[in-house]
Symmetry: C2
Subunit: 307 residues, 2 copies
């Protein structure tokens, strides 16, 4: 197989695009995919400061690298979730990448700063660990971006992630979530704009990008995600994609182009009910936001002392 | 496990309903599920004549049996598709059931009446066999019902079928198909009302119904369906259902209750473009309907001699 762009021998075959690429042209292809996602969905305007949510894995480090390659002013935010050795090691990958690039990494630690870890938050909030974790990350991501004056927050959700989340939301027809599922969530009172520049990149392509770009990342998956429903959705979609390459992209982009608008009012209605959390000021439908409630239950005495 | 209804030992466990049933109560449960589907969606009005599409398999024979148990005036239509021994055998099952019940079975044979079989139709129309078959069955089902003055046509699509079709339509966001996917398709110029009374019944429950009701049915699957995409969708959904019983029902009924209306205009738009086929009179978007075009290509001389 030859490189689609320069005709040299290909090192990777992207079946969805029915194309092979040599190493240099693949890195170029990835940059173009991200550039196109950013342009198509008007994710980042010139001069804006971007905060990238960095876990130490291939997607977030690859995204940070790609944004810097495309000359965006992008800093990183690492959130320590207190998941034992897994957290320690992923922090080391994030820090090593940042220092190698000479990039700024903000480091927030959930146990040190808020007095509880994901296992404890999950227990007291009666939520699955992945739910407590997602809630904490979304909350801190938004509050740190606000505190540090970033214009936009970027996450490393790739095409496979988006397809799996969409599949889960469609299986239960979560109309509010469907109304919010988009590569760009516009800013709103109390919310920074959220963007997903990797929406055109598959999981396997991100792994290849990191390998070919020489990015050292945390390969191990989170030990608490084991048995997570989304892994089942991913497996189901992978089986179908294997047989019909392009299925995931058609699923996600067909939704964005022809279907998302039909659910947008459902999300709008939910947003109208939001008011600032009486403790932290984050938008919430109750008096106290779900993150502060979780913290209160986990560490009743610590609630008034967030860092 | 005990029967939910009479506390005798259960012979079947319906995980989705978290309930076990003894043989008699399971048959009662199935009748109630079908009665409820018919009532909820106003499928059949008192005194209406129903034509049931009968393949000889568990779903269509079970449906026919259930409608007769519920005292509907239901006759059967068997369509011979010319798929060798498979067609011969499935016809024998349909005929045996009809004569055992003393019920009327209309028998239409595609090769004998129209001069081509599914393999040939598939070849000349450049369609997958399942597509040529579905097209032929829909066409003949509607035209026979019209010719014989039936009010409504009923098909044996069960919950698993509906979930798999919905999954396929959602993966490609076929907005027109989504607008037509409903347990009742109302009558329209040239179209009889179409209903799916088994929408609340799983595949496994239909097999158990036939077994417990003593209905002898064709177990073998169509040899031409091998590798059909829908089988892949069913397998994917089965894996998810296995882990989260009720997923398929939530997917299908959530769609019907909260989502179908959002796509109905897409189907409406397609219906507006229909006009009678210049050959057979069936509604079509072209001059000649897809069935007549397929017949014309397969047997140019036979086009003017339909039975």
């Amino acid at each position: 197989m030859k490189c689609r762009r320069c005709r040299k021998p290909a090192v990777i075959d992207v079946r969805r695009h029915n194309a092979g690429f040599c190493s240099d042209c693949f890195l170029h292809h990835c940059r173009e995919q991200v550039r196109r996602a950013i342009d198509d969905f008007e994710m980042i305007r010139p001069g804006e400061r971007v905060l990238v949510a960095v876990s130490g894995g291939k997607d977030s480090l690859g995204l940070w690298h790609l944004l810097r390659q495309l000359e965006y002013q992008a800093d990183g935010l690492y959130i320590g979730l207190g998941i034992g050795e897994y957290s320690d090691e992923s922090r080391r990958y994030a820090q090593a990448f940042a220092s190698g690039e000479g990039a700024r990494l903000i480091d927030v630690d959930l146990p040190a700063g808020f007095g509880f870890d994901i296992a404890e938050g999950s227990r007291v909030a009666h939520r699955a660990p992945c739910s407590a974790c997602g809630l904490s990350k979304r909350h801190l991501f938004n509050s740190v971006a606000t505190a540090h004056g970033y214009d936009v927050v970027a996450t490393g959700h790739n095409l496979d992630d988006e397809a799996a989340v969409l599949f889960g939301n469609v299986l239960r027809w979560e109309t509010g979530y469907l109304g919010r599922q988009h590569p760009v969530l516009p800013a709103a009172p109390g919310f920074k704009r959220k963007v997903k520049p990797l929406v055109r990149m598959g999981e396997r392509e991100m792994a290849a990008y990191c390998f070919l770009a020489g990015i050292d990342y945390m390969v191990e998956e989170c030990p608490m995600a084991d048995g997570n429903r989304h892994l089942g959705y991913k497996a189901a979609l992978n089986t179908i994609e294997e047989r019909s390459p392009g299925t995931k992209a058609a699923f996600v982009f067909g939704f964005i182009e022809r279907v998302h608008d039909r659910f947008a009012p459902d999300a709008e209605k939910e947003r109208e009910d939001l008011a600032p959390c009486t403790h932290c000021g984050a938008p919430t439908t109750g008096d106290i936001c779900a993150f502060c409630r979780m913290q209160e239950r986990a560490t009743p005495l610590a609630l008034n002392e967030p860092t």
